[in-house]
Point group: C2
């Protein structure tokens, strides 16, 4: 699956993913109004608004990009109806030819991790049949429980040609509380990176492994060191735009062909119409504003490659 | 909420929770058959089987115990229908007066962690209305992202009188890969424990904090040390029974009143009918076998208190 992602990045010249992390406050009034008129101010109404909002953005940007990254928490907050909107979004993005990275940050042990992996990357067996739960191509995984938590995902990746991105160094201010603490003279996240290399060796697919790493963009020096440590590992890089990372910070993520990393922007794209720079589009044309923001982001990143 | 849990433990004299972690292979043939006859070998059929299985067990044990711990992965593997069975299970347990600990091991940052917290412990605002997503009383939380990931949960706990259990030391064989590594001469999990104290101080509720800790039962010496380090923190202890922990291993979890910890058993209870010890009940009476296993577990734990 990572090879497919790299091919799509090479085709689009856009090593990015658009984060589909909808909050109700992001959604233009006319969409909310229509959804609430149909379903009331209910979880079903909220889910409909989220879905219509996502669909319009995906329609406007899908020819420009290789991948999207829906953040499942933003759907899960609305309970079952929200998760139905997540499922519809995943399936729609796949119909449009996009690779879908489910940002689920799951992680447990043994049969429990297997259940998550099956539900998001594989198939669940029911009697003599098999079904997909959420049909994502990649998911994000939390490493705190060690190999027991990650290997079940890798096994499912190998069986179904899917991939994962393991949290190595996150982009939030407090990520250092544990991740930066020194163990034998090196920060915890480097020890996690070493394990990612080990886990990744069991799932190579072309130049890269189906086991990738989440590496926060707000720490450029760390990115450079981690890039050297993990030459076969694709980076999923949050923190561009709204979280403060710039294209210049990102240059160390990529290999000489401009591959090996996918940079995420969520709010910077999906709420573009609220930014002064794109305000002239107006809320009615929010999806066109998102398209322009994607074009600008690609150009910004290509500038440092 | 932790005070309510402690009260229920004192009333039942049972510092335990029953892990509702259904796998299809656990469910007696007659339940599977009925569900598949009604809905086919489909996710809907699997969800119906899971729900009927859970309901029978809950009916059989609810007067003996204070709490249950459904593991959401086991439901999520079936996609939306599985999550509907999770929701039904949570709501049914609450109707029966049980405290429900959602074993979700979520964790992200800022507004994303808030979304998880809202979806599982609080209420989501939709227009002028507010709704509960999954109505659990506690959830488990992964600490790898630091305070940014945990504080949003604590805030929601304070607003809605709910609680969390933060993963400190898990019970799986590879938990030591990162959790046991020494930082300034002390294992990472002790640094996490320190932060749990800090987070917990912001949500005291009686003798204990609404912020608890997951502490694996397979490591009795660690439990003793952690109990001393975290006097105001309730422990959620997995690993009893099927994972190899014994009642003797657990004695250090508790305070002098036999409170301050809740010990989980999943397979040991819900698949009791498959064990030689309870085989005489037969698959038709699986729930009675679970009841006897609960009685035996309570007696076993009371023996060390």
């Amino acid at each position: 699956m990572i090879q497919k992602l790299m091919q799509k990045i090479a085709e689009t010249k856009a090593p990015i993913c658009v984060g589909l992390d909808p909050m109700l406050s992001y959604i233009p009034e006319h969409i909310l109004k229509a959804a609430f008129e149909q379903y009331g101010e209910t979880p079903e109404g909220a889910a409909e608004a989220v879905w219509q909002y996502n669909k319009a953005i995906v329609d406007a940007v899908c020819d420009l990009i290789p991948s999207v990254k829906p953040q499942i928490a933003m759907y899960e907050q609305f309970g079952i109806h929200g998760l139905i909107a997540y499922e519809k979004t995943v399936n729609y993005c796949k119909e449009k030819g996009l690779i879908v990275i489910g940002d689920i940050k799951r992680g447990d042990i043994g049969s429990t991790s297997t259940a998550y992996a099956i539900g998001h990357l594989g198939e669940v067996k029911i009697g003599s049949k098999a079904y997909r739960g959420f049909d994502t191509d990649f998911v994000t995984v939390n490493p705190y429980l060690g190999t027991d938590g990650v290997k079940p995902f890798v096994d499912v990746c190998n069986e179904y040609d899917r991939g994962i991105f393991v949290l190595v160094k996150t982009s939030n201010p407090s990520s250092g509380e544990f991740q930066d603490r020194l163990i034998d003279g090196r920060p915890l996240y480097e020890h996690v990176a070493e394990k990612v290399n080990e886990w990744g060796a069991a799932s190579m697919d072309g130049d890269y492994s189906n086991v990738g790493a989440v590496v926060g963009a707000t720490y450029p020096e760390m990115i450079r060191d981690l890039r050297k440590m993990m030459p076969k590992i694709c980076f999923l890089v949050p923190g561009y735009g709204a979280q403060g990372g710039t294209a210049e910070d990102l240059k160390y993520c990529f290999d000489k062909d401009g591959l090996g990393a996918v940079v995420n922007s969520s709010r910077g794209i999906i709420t573009a119409y609220k930014k002064e720079q794109y305000a002239s589009f107006g809320p009615e044309h929010f999806a066109d504003a998102s398209r322009q923001a994607v074009i600008d982001m690609i150009s910004d990143i290509q500038g440092v490659l």
